[in-house]
């Protein structure tokens, strides 16, 4: 993490290449998080790329206030961008991944692709903010307090989203 903090300091001082270290260290986890929220690897890559651009602009304009770690801050940006992407889906077609894409190599990739499709089907009826809360808790394994930081809301608001999401999922599984 010290390495990331040092990279952040260098980016703030105007060293764009130092941002590469942040991308290399965090892109895998962020794309995984994005894919679990939006349900598509290709859409997740777009979401994460947009998020990195936002993060870079925030760093260079002095808008990163260091209230949380760099990783948590990036997860916050990716989650919000993914929620926005889900909200805008009504205005554009939903992208679909194919196993032939290079990111789905091997048996583990094919299994991940199937699991992502299953997750998409399971959480498809939830509003984007509830879907993100469920993914962060039940798939990513975060505590409510961590989810509150990532979503930028109170712990009470997170609990409320999770209760509503569970009620919807229960109804769907009963029908």
């Amino acid at each position: 993490m010290d390495d990331l903090d040092e990279a952040v300091r260098r980016v703030v001082r105007g060293d764009t290449d130092a941002f590469r270290r942040i991308v290399d260290a965090t892109s895998e986890g962020l794309v995984r998080l994005g894919a679990r929220i939006v349900g598509s690897l290709s859409e997740a890559e777009d979401v994460v790329q947009d998020s990195y651009v936002k993060a870079y602009q925030a760093l260079t304009s002095g808008r990163f206030e260091r209230r949380s770690s760099v990783t948590t801050w990036l997860r916050h940006i990716v989650t919000n961008t993914a929620i926005d992407s889900l909200r805008s889906r009504s205005r554009r077609p939903v992208p679909s991944d194919t196993i032939a894409e290079s990111g789905w190599d091997g048996e583990a990739g094919a299994e991940a692709h199937m699991a992502l499709a299953e997750l998409n089907e399971l959480l498809g009826a939830l509003p984007p903010d509830q879907r993100a809360a469920v993914v962060l808790q039940s798939v990513e394994g975060h505590a409510v307090s961590e989810i509150a930081v990532i979503l930028g809301c109170s712990e009470g608001a997170v609990e409320q989203r999770l209760v509503r999401a569970r009620a919807t999922l229960r109804e769907r599984s009963a029908s």
């Binding site: 890559e45 002095g62 997750l119």
Partner: protein
């Protein structure tokens, strides 16, 4: 019953979490990101100018205060010399 359904759902979601652990960006993704980041920087000329201007604000405030002080002192000196000249003229009479 409600609790059992929730537990089953949590179990299923945790399983999906394990199965999607192999997810990773496609080859070349980090390069793509860096290209986008650098391109975003070239469009930020206005932001660069704004940032430089913002950094100059304290210097400008200090310069303005010094200029104001100098103007007041100069004005006082001018008043005094004018008054002295006026007195001198009066004495000549």
């Amino acid at each position: 019953m409600k609790r059992e359904v929730d537990e089953a759902m949590d179990e299923r979601l945790a399983g999906i979490g394990r199965r999607t652990a192999a997810l990773r960006p496609r080859a070349g993704f980090d390069d793509r990101v860096m290209r986008a980041v650098k391109a975003s920087g070239t469009h930020g000329l206005f932001e660069d100018v704004l940032r430089a201007a913002r950094a100059m604000v304290p210097v400008a405030v200090m310069a303005a205060a010094l200029a104001m002080g100098w103007a007041v002192r100069t004005d006082q000196a001018a008043d005094m010399s004018l008054a002295a000249t006026f007195d001198a003229v009066e004495l000549e009479w």
